[in-house]
């Protein structure tokens, strides 16, 4: 049987288009935290003996994972972060969608803020929220100001939307007004 070239081209097109239906990423339900370095102790000062050697930066792999980001978004309201930070716009607590980071914008710093708490209101969630969920939350918190890939950030809200979705947040330049660095 002979095939016409148009038929073969169409077949190729269909095959190419169906690639788009491939699984984008795995959903890990039973996961290890993305970083094996748990941040158990924080130093309260930047002062080090001898020369300043900054610790190696910890990467939060969840920032590129759409499932983890949407879990972070779900947990953000389930754990009532909204109660103070109000969908990222701020209320009793500081806004999370702007460029100001009082205690640092790096993933590890956001992690530490959640686990350790911060003076004047931010409670410590140590022991209450499992590590992998804290990583999901910190990935989501950073996505609020556009600090995660747009194709991974949540693009819709389950409830009334108080702000544009995270996937269309413009990345804002970070101004670390850090007080103590962890």
């Amino acid at each position: 049987m002979r095939y016409r070239p148009t038929f073969i081209i169409m077949l190729g097109l269909v095959a190419g288009l169906s690639l788009g239906a491939c699984k984008r990423e795995e959903r890990g339900f039973r996961v290890q935290p993305p970083s094996s370095t748990t941040i158990d102790s924080k130093s309260l000062t930047d002062l080090q003996p001898g020369t300043q050697t900054p610790p190696p930066e910890i990467k939060n792999e969840y920032e590129e994972n759409a499932y983890a980001l949407s879990e972070g978004k779900r947990l953000f309201s389930a754990y009532n972060c909204n109660g103070c930070h109000s969908q990222g716009g701020g209320g009793m607590g500081p806004a999370l969608m702007d460029e100001r980071w009082l205690y640092g914008s790096k993933p590890a710093q956001v992690f530490a803020t959640i686990v350790e708490g911060r003076p004047n209101g931010m409670p410590s969630f140590r022991g209450r929220v499992p590590d992998f969920q804290v990583w999901q939350l910190s990935a989501y918190v950073r996505s609020m100001s556009g600090n995660s890939p747009k194709d991974a950030a949540p693009s819709r809200d389950d409830h009334i939307q108080g702000k544009p979705p995270e996937s269309s947040a413009e990345p804002v330049p970070v101004k670390d007004t850090s007080i103590p660095k962890p």
Binding site: F29, R30, A78, V129
Partner: protein, 362 residues
Amino acid sequence: MSHRGRPRHRTTRSSHATRFKCLWWSLTVVLFAVISANASSQSALDPAGPQASRIDGLWRLMLYLLSAVFVAVMVVLLVAAFRRRTQVNDQPLKPVLLDTDPGQDRRISRTVISAIALTIVILFVLLVSSFLVGSAINSAPVNDNVLTIEVTGHQWWWDVRYDNPIPSQMVTTANELHIPVGRPVIFKLISNDVIHSFWVPNLHGKTDLVPGHPIETWMQADRPGIYRGQCAEFCGFQHAHMAFAIVAEPEEQFRAWYASQLNSAPAPSTESQSRGQQVFLSKPCIMCHRIQGTDAGGRAGPDLTHVASRQSIGAGTLQNTREHLAGWILDPQTIKPGNQMPPNPMSADDLNALLDYLQSLK
């Protein structure tokens, strides 16, 4: 049904009969199995309420009527297929010309017209009875003494709140509803995330739970029993493990249950139980679950104030035993992958204390 490799003309009358018998028996067995599947606790064929009886009646009418139609059609078809024109002395069959015999022509038209008329009548009977059943099961309850229960669907469990004008008289529980026998119960259904569907086959048909759009339905249990319900609208990874139970019991028993559910959780009475309470209040449990009478007030997961009085855990996934509870607390993601409870690794002493405490929450 032709036997391969065997010439057609050797098919004898007796082998036809065997095939018919075979077909007939298998049909009978299937029908019998369907109709007699009554004893189960989740079956629309064992109605325990007014609406379910009507649905069951309609189902049986359709089954019997359409079986009769099916059998009649098959008989006519088989008679036509196997009736041979007589063959004389190896002569080729002469073609039959339909328009040559006016008598046969009339007979054919009469048969076709009456078959069409019968079809229309049968379809109208089904249409009218289905319409009548539809309007009957959707009519308001006649009895004024109703009980109102608010059911919220979550991925993948059911949040249950018994409505009462006095807030302190409201009961909150999960995945297991007690209702009084012989009293209509109004269910206010709402979803927290995606569309679910509330289905107790023994009591009523399905009603969807739609986010942002409360829907009301009602049902009534005419006899005591435990009726299993199930989410009937695909709602994600663990849709199949989103079951619930309706426990229908006589009015006094229901009142006693209600009174016991109104109480706060009993205070821990042993050393192990109080350690268990501390574990609960300092571990991730407190972030999502509520235990009335303690600081735990989370609403993201099921209310655990009287968890030990319930029959199952994980929305009908497992029997509520100590062993299952232990497995569930340590690693719910192996039992019900994708559910929203994280694994909670903890020491054996902590776990035992926690189990002692949870099992005291009657």
